[in-house]
């Protein structure tokens, strides 16, 4: 087996995650799907690292994890405050941008 299969898997996971972001309305689930997309990327990066024989890919994946952690903290805080004001975690309820 060639490690390129990991890349195919990463692409598949990424597409699933992206579709989930678009389809789901519960903000938490949407957020999980975003995490899924990030993880898919990480998998690709790690695979690249192995293919090219250097560690830079892993470094980037590591930074991605850190940033994801920060993002999760802020995002969940937003969801909590949104829920407090609207009593709902649906992303469609925050649709004040329409005419």
């Amino acid at each position: 087996m060639n490690p390129v299969n990991y890349l195919y898997l990463a692409a598949l996971l990424f597409a699933i995650g992206a579709s989930g972001v678009l389809v789901r309305r519960n903000a938490i689930v949407v957020f999980m799907c975003v995490e899924l997309m990030l993880n898919a990327c990480n998998l690709a990066l790690v695979t690249f690292s192995r293919m090219h024989g250097n560690l830079d890919g892993q470094i980037v994946a590591f930074f991605t994890m850190v940033v994801a952690a920060a993002e999760v903290v802020v995002g969940l805080a937003i969801i909590v405050s949104l829920f407090r004001s609207r009593h709902s975690a649906s992303v469609d309820d925050a649709s004040l941008m329409k005419l």
Binding site: L12, A15, A18, S19, R25, H52, G53, L55, I59, M65
Partner: protein, 288 residues
């Protein structure tokens, strides 16, 4: 880079592991998207993440594999679960689409994107790979190698990431913190308020049913009507009150029926009904 280190295939064991765990990962991802309850989604995602951690390890990224389990599966997913609890663990999402055409568009985009990515990867010339053996060994191990890069080549990015984390922490606190705008009530004021208010005794307890934990079931007043006061505020706001005002009547009826069956009182019941109806007729005539 040593040309000899290049390989074209991995070991058979890794291949078997990939095909099994890869399937699990895809199933986990799909369940994350498709399951109705947020908790289930979170658990599926955690499963996928663990699989990914295994893949990291298999790819020679030992440090990242561990970090994936500790940070992602351990910390972040737990954070998710906390929030799910906070927001309402029982609330199942309706999967019915409200925006016209959104589902098809999303599906089309997802499929198209996936196909594009896979086609792109397929077109790239990636038939051989280097392997991380040399890179990991250069500084005496995977962690040392990463540390070497982080504190030399990527030290600036590392510092900035630290600042980002701090900012995120402060941001989360600012977002979720609510400033008290009025003076906190003293104990004296609270007790005075209570004495002057409507409810001197503690609020009535929620009704308790033997069948299940019943914090969400309002207690019944002596006349049989449910009192919302008995249910805690949060549940009331979420609309998660279970209405059981008719439950006791239904139970009584069922009990009566069962005892009737048991005692063979079917006829007597019918007689009682027959005796009742003429009197009802008399009553109506008297009313006239």
């Amino acid at each position: 880079m040593n040309a000899l280190a290049a390989a074209t295939t991995t070991s058979t064991g890794e291949a078997i592991q990939f095909w099994i765990l890869g399937t699990v990962a895809v199933i986990g991802a799909l369940s994350t998207v498709l399951l109705k309850r947020a908790v289930h989604s979170a658990l599926s995602l955690a499963g996928t993440m663990i699989v990914l951690a295994v893949f990291y390890l298999a790819n020679g990224a030992y440090f990242l594999g561990i970090v994936q389990i500790v940070v992602y599966t351990g910390a972040i997913m737990m954070l998710f679960l906390f929030v799910v609890m906070l927001v309402g663990v029982t609330a199942a999402d309706s999967l019915k689409e409200t925006i016209k055409g959104q589902r098809w568009l999303a599906l089309g985009c997802g499929l198209g994107f996936g196909i594009l990515l896979i086609a792109g990867i397929g077109n790239a010339s990636l038939s051989t790979f280097e392997g991380l053996g040399a890179a990991n060994a250069a500084h005496g191990g995977n962690i040392e190698g990463l540390a070497n890069l982080i504190f030399t080549k990527y030290v600036f990015a590392f510092e900035i990431t630290g600042a980002l984390l701090i900012t995120a922490t402060v941001g989360a606190m600012v977002l979720t913190h609510r400033e008290r705008t009025e003076r906190a009530k003293t104990q004296r004021e609270m007790s005075e308020e209570r004495v002057r208010g409507k409810h001197l005794p503690p609020l009535p307890a929620p009704g308790v049913y033997a069948r299940h934990n019943a914090v969400d079931i309002p207690g019944l007043l002596p006349d049989g009507t449910p009192s919302e006061l008995t249910v805690m505020q949060t549940l009331r706001r979420r609309g998660q009150i279970r209405d059981v005002s008719q439950q006791s009547l239904a139970d009584l009826k069922a009990l009566e029926q069962r005892s009737g069956e048991r005692l063979g009182r079917e006829d007597a019941d019918a007689v009682a009904r027959g005796a009742q109806s003429p009197s009802a007729a008399e009553n109506s005539e008297a009313a006239k």
